[in-house]
Subunit: 308 residues, 2 copies
C-alpha cells in the first residue's frame, strides 16, 4: 500500500491528503437540514449529514488528490451511527482509488493492539470465515506503550501489505510537554523516530517503508532532523493551514526526490467555503470551494519545493 | 463518579475490577454455537456471542465487584456489530449498578480529544438535541500529546461528573522503552505522574480526584513511587493474574486507608473455567468459575493488604 501511495502521489503530483474530519458546524445548513428531515435530529441524522458532506467533497476532489485521512473521533462522537458513516466513507474513498489513512491513534499492549490491527487494517476470524471490519489502508498508531504495542500492527500490515504512521512529534502546542523532554541530551521524539526507522526496516516497500511517522507542520526545524533520522519513512504532516503551517515550512519534511512526505489539511479544505478566499462559492457549492482550496494547497507546496 | 467508585469499593470491600475483554477463544463453544446458529458465522454472530458471554459473567459476579473495564479493542475488532455489543455491555453493567471504565486509551490534539470525550463520557449536540453515545463512567487516556490532549477530557468530565485514568506506566514488557527514559535523572513516567496529580487537583471528588492513573501491577517498585507522587489519584492497576502480577505486589499501590487503587483482572476472571483451578465448573458453568475466581482474587488482595 505504500507503493500505491507513492504511485498516487506521483500520478497526481500532489503530496497532500485531505482530512475528512467533519465537525457538524462545518457542514452547510442545507446538508444538515436534508439529513435531519429524513432521520430527525438524531445520531443517525448527524451520521447521514456527515456522509453526504464527505461524499460531495470526495466527488469534487478525488481526481486531484492521492489520499484522504478520516479522523475517526469525529465519527465516534456520534456513536454507532457515526462509526457506520466512517466505514461508509472509507469504502467510498477506496472505490474512488484513494488511499485511506485511518487517523485512529490507537495503541495498547500486545494482544489488544493486535485486536485493533485486525479490526482496522487486517481481517478477523469468526468461525471458519474472515472479515475486514474497517479496512483502512494505513492507520496512525500511538507509540507510548513501546515496541510490543506497535509490533502487532506491523505484523498484520506485513500480511496485508498495509501500513502505519507512528506519532513522533504531534502538531499541537503542548506536544513538547513529554515529546521534547531531553534524554541524554536528545528529545524523546528523536528516540521514537529512531524506533520508527528500525521498525520500518523490517517492512519495506519498493522505495519507502510501510512504517511512516507523524510529524507536525508546526515544528519545521524538528521535521528537518527527523527527516534525516527516518530517511525511508513517509512523514504524514498535519497542522498545515488552519493550525498555522505554511508551504515554506514544509520543505524540510521532503527528501531530495520530492517524495517522503504527505501533508494533511482538514478544516482548510473541507470547510473552505467558510473562508473569505472561497466565500464566493457559497455554502451551496461547498464542494467546489474545497476543490479550489485543494488546487491552492497543491500550488503552495509545489512552489515551496521548487524554490528550496 | 469517583465518589460512586469509592462507595462501591467500600460496599463490596473489593478493590477490583473485572476486565470484560472477550476474545472469541475465551467464549465457551456452546455460547458461540448458539450465537452462530442465530446470526451465522458473521460479525453479528461474534458480537452476539460476546454479549451473551459478558451478560452471564456480569450476572454471576456483579454483587461482588464495584466496577468493570470493557476493553473496546476486543469489540472494535468486530466492526460496527462489535461496537454495538460494547455499548450494550456498558449499558447493562450500569443498570446493574457497576461503575464502567471504558478502556479506550484515546488521546489526540484538542478538538479531536474533545470529540472522543463527548462520545465516551459526555454528550454530543445534534441540532437542538443532545445524546450520550457510549456513556462510560470513566475512560483511559493516552498522555503522549500532552496537556492539550488531556484537558478536553477533563473539561467534559467536570461537566458530567465523570473521570479518566491516564496511562502513566503500562503493564507490558516493553513499556520501559519510552516510559522509563530518564529526564534529568527521573523517568518519564514520573513526569507524567506529576502531571496527573496536577490535572487531578482541578477536579476533585470527596476524597479522591476524578483524574486517576494507570500503573501496571508488573512494576510494583514504580507503583510505590507513583503512589506518593499522586496521593489523591486512584490507580487503575492492570497486569494482575495472567500477566504475572500477584496480591503481594500490589500493596504499595494502595494508600494507608486501604483505598486509592483498583486492580484489574481480565483473562484470569472471564476465562477462569479454562484454568486448572476452576476446571471443575466446566465450560457449561463458566460464569460460576468466574465468580469463584473473583472470590479468590478478593481474598488474595485482602490478605496481602492485611499482612503489609
Amino acid at each position: 500500500m505504500i507503493n500505491k501511495l507513492v504511485e498516487n502521489i506521483k500520478k497526481t503530483n500532489a503530496p497532500i491528503v485531505v482530512g475528512l474530519d467533519p465537525m457538524l458546524n462545518y457542514i452547510p445548513e442545507h446538508v444538515q437540514k436534508k439529513a435531519f428531515a429524513e432521520y430527525g435530529e438524531t445520531l443517525e441524522g448527524a451520521a447521514e449529514a456527515i456522509w453526504q458532506f464527505n461524499k460531495e467533497i470526495v466527488d469534487k476532489t478525488c481526481d486531484l488528490i492521492p489520499a484522504v485521512k478520516p479522523q475517526i473521533a469525529m465519527y465516534e462522537q456520534f456513536g454507532i451511527p457515526g462509526l457506520a458513516a466512517f466505514k461508509k466513507t472509507v469504502d467510498y474513498c477506496k472505490e474512488k482509488g484513494l488511499v485511506v489513512i485511518g487517523d485512529i491513534k490507537r495503541g495498547d499492549i500486545g494482544s489488544t493492539s493486535a485486536a485493533y490491527a485486525v479490526g482496522h487494517v487486517g481481517r478477523v476470524q469468526v468461525g471458519s470465515h474472515t472479515y475486514t471490519p474497517f479496512a483502512e489502508d494505513f492507520v496512525t498508531v500511538n507509540p507510548y506503550l513501546g515496541s510490543d504495542g506497535v509490533n502487532p500492527f506491523i505484523k498484520v500490515c506485513k500480511e496485508e501489505k498495509k501500513g502505519i504512521f507512528v506519532l513522533v512529534k504531534t502538531s499541537n502546542p503542548s506536544s513538547g510537554e513529554f515529546q521534547d523532554q531531553l534524554i541524554n541530551g536528545r528529545p524523546l521524539y528523536e528516540l521514537v523516530g529512531e524506533k520508527v526507522a528500525l521498525w520500518g526496516e523490517e517492512h519495506m516497500g519498493d522505495e519507502y517503508s510501510y512504517v511512516g511517522a507523524v510529524v507536525g507542520a508546526t515544528y519545521p526545524e524538528m521535521g528537518k532532523v527527523l527527516r534525516k533520522i527516518m530517511p525511508k519513512s513517509y512523514i504524514l504532516v498535519p497542522g498545515y493551514g488552519a493550525q498555522g503551517g505554511k508551504g515554506k515550512d514544509l520543505i524540510h519534511f521532503f527528501n531530495e526526490d520530492g517524495l517522503g512526505a504527505i501533508v494533511n489539511s482538514s478544516r482548510g479544505i473541507i470547510a473552505a467555503y467558510k473562508q473569505e478566499n472561497y466565500a464566493k462559492f457559497g455554502a451551496e457549492h461547498f464542494g467546489d470551494a474545497s476543490r479550489a482550496a485543494v488546487e491552492d494547497m497543491i500550488k503552495d507546496i509545489k512552489e515551496a519545493l521548487e524554490n528550496r
